[in-house]
Amino acid sequence: MPAIEVEALVKVYPDGTRAVDGISFGVEDGEFFGFLGPNGAGKSTTIKMLTTLLKKTSGKVAVSGHDLDKNPQSIRRAIGVQAQETGVDEDLTGRENLELMGHLYGVSGGQLKQRVEGLLKLVGLEAEADKRAGYYSGGMKKRLDLASSLVHSPRILFLDEPTTGLDPQSRAAIWTYLKDLNRKEKVTIFLTTQYMEEADRLCDRIAIIDQGKIVASGTPSQLKTEIGADVITITMPESELVDHPERREEAMRLLEAVPGVASVTAFESGVSAYVRNGGSVVPDVVRALDNAKVNLGSISLSSPSLDDVFLKHTGRRIRPEELKKPGRSMMFGRRRRR
């Protein structure tokens, strides 16, 4: 039985925005599945619908075998959710946060105590467990939040950009926990991210989502090999691109004619060529452009990344944006931050 089944899911907001535009996908039991896309692509909207927080406009959703319309309560019992905002209560200690969530999931007594200890250990917050979460750093809060979504030992975990806004160390720590959860405890994970590296490292399979639609899906290596063995990325001077936009088109035409080039895509600051054997093609590419007097900014050869996959399918690059949260004020406007 698949853990998540989604068919023609649509969300239209009251203002007419089609945030999710008819997506279909499935996640197998035990799979680590990723939704990769830029800000505003519809990732959060999708996760909110799948986790019963937001009403869908149309489509069919089943999570853990339960129909979303008929049985949201069974879905809630089966899943753990970490939202984009860390919903920890800053006036409660780390331990109290976990205990509260445990109680709400119906876990109690010795079982809860044991689970809480185990989770504090898992996310490395034992030493700070009895300090108020308001004094935690951003990374610690995220870890606490992750722990609290696991308190009832869910078999399916939804994570909405779990590492956005974190420093590299915290990010790496979270990656380790997530990998362990998936590999060792066989928890099915559905994750959204705007970081290629995150999707690449963690996910068994990903779907690339842009403007409410899934534009490509498969294993990261499948997606990358689909576009060619190597990518030649050529940037052009900005002045040239602004004053002579036709030069970019000319460059694309020239590149397409070079033997060994499979396809060419334009992006903001230049063009990318997907080639079968990069090393031997680069000299031809440079020669072709040079003969036509196209000014070059830089030229680089690399293996394709998921970013190239995204570029190939959307004509744009993913530029991760850090979350800009509205100023969170405590009761009566007091702020407590660290």
Binding site: R76, I79, A83, L104, Y105
Partner: protein, 266 residues
């Protein structure tokens, strides 16, 4: 786990937050304390009116005003309750709770039980401050207990309005402003601080008479200053009326809060 069990966890959380931010509790006490200690002295001269004792039922202005000031606190404190809801929505805590299988209604119920406790604690502090300086409690502990019971009920009824505003606007400033706009006119055009018979302007007297605040204030004032032994049928009727008025407000405001909450939940 039952509704009450789940509500209890939300209640306990709210109480913990309150204990750890005592400033929130004390902050809203500042205004009623100023009224209790300074305003009552400023208007002490009311008691020199020839028929004051007859109009007010007590000899000093402080003894008359104290029940009103205690109610004033309950009113303004209740009208700030919604701020906490907004905080939970903005912080993401609400979403976190909404993905759990806990009953939706327990979130509101637990929160409102904590609102009632907050108002009771504040009222006990104010009564403890008011009694030594001249407030009267003619019906002893029993009377005070009844007063606090009514105040808690009154507070809950108005807290619903505040939660409703908080849930609908998701804006703390809106909750504060609405609370302020409601408290000021309703408070002054009531029998909170001035006996009905001393109001000259007919329209203000009219507003004061039918002001829902007046019903509640009159009830707790009788409970505090008039010994039960001398209560007549009109006093009991007044008490019943005040409870009915508060119940009416409670039904409206809680209904509105529950509807607003359902919208958020969707």
């Amino acid at each position: 786990m039952g509704l009450l069990g789940e509500s209890y966890y939300f209640f306990r959380r709210a109480i913990k937050k309150l204990v750890r931010n005592p400033i929130v509790l004390l902050f809203s006490l500042i205004q009623p304390i100023i009224f209790l200690f300074i305003f009552t002295q400023l208007f002490d001269g009311f008691a020199n009116l020839p028929n004051w004792g007859q109009i007010a039922g007590v000899t000093t202005y402080l003894a008359f005003a104290a029940p009103g000031i205690i109610m004033m606190n309950a009113f303004s404190s209740a009208l700030q309750s919604g701020v906490t809801m907004v905080d939970d929505i903005q912080s993401g805590f609400m979403d976190k709770v909404l993905v759990t299988p806990a009953r939706r209604s327990s979130i509101l119920l637990g929160r409102m039980m904590a609102d009632a406790v907050r108002i009771i604690v504040q009222s006990v502090i104010l009564i403890a401050l008011a009694l030594p300086i001249g407030a009267v409690a003619s019906n002893g502990i029993g009377g005070i207990a009844a007063v606090i019971g009514i105040i808690a009920f009154f507070g809950l009824a108005w807290a619903g309005i505040s939660h409703s505003i908080g849930l609908r606007t998701k804006n703390q400033q809106a909750v504060f402003s609405a609370g302020f706009l409601l408290t000021f006119p309703l408070m002054f055009m009531s029998t909170m601080l001035v006996p009905q018979d001393l109001i000259n302007r007919d329209w203000i007297r009219g507003v004061s008479q039918y002001n829902p605040i007046s019903f509640a204030v009159n009830a707790i004032r009788s409970l505090m200053i008039l010994p039960f032994s001398s209560w007549g049928a009109p006093n009991w009727t007044a008490l019943e009326q005040s409870l009915l008025v508060i119940a009416g407000i409670a039904v409206l405001s809680l209904g509105s809060a529950i509807l607003a909450f359902k919208k958020v939940v969707e």
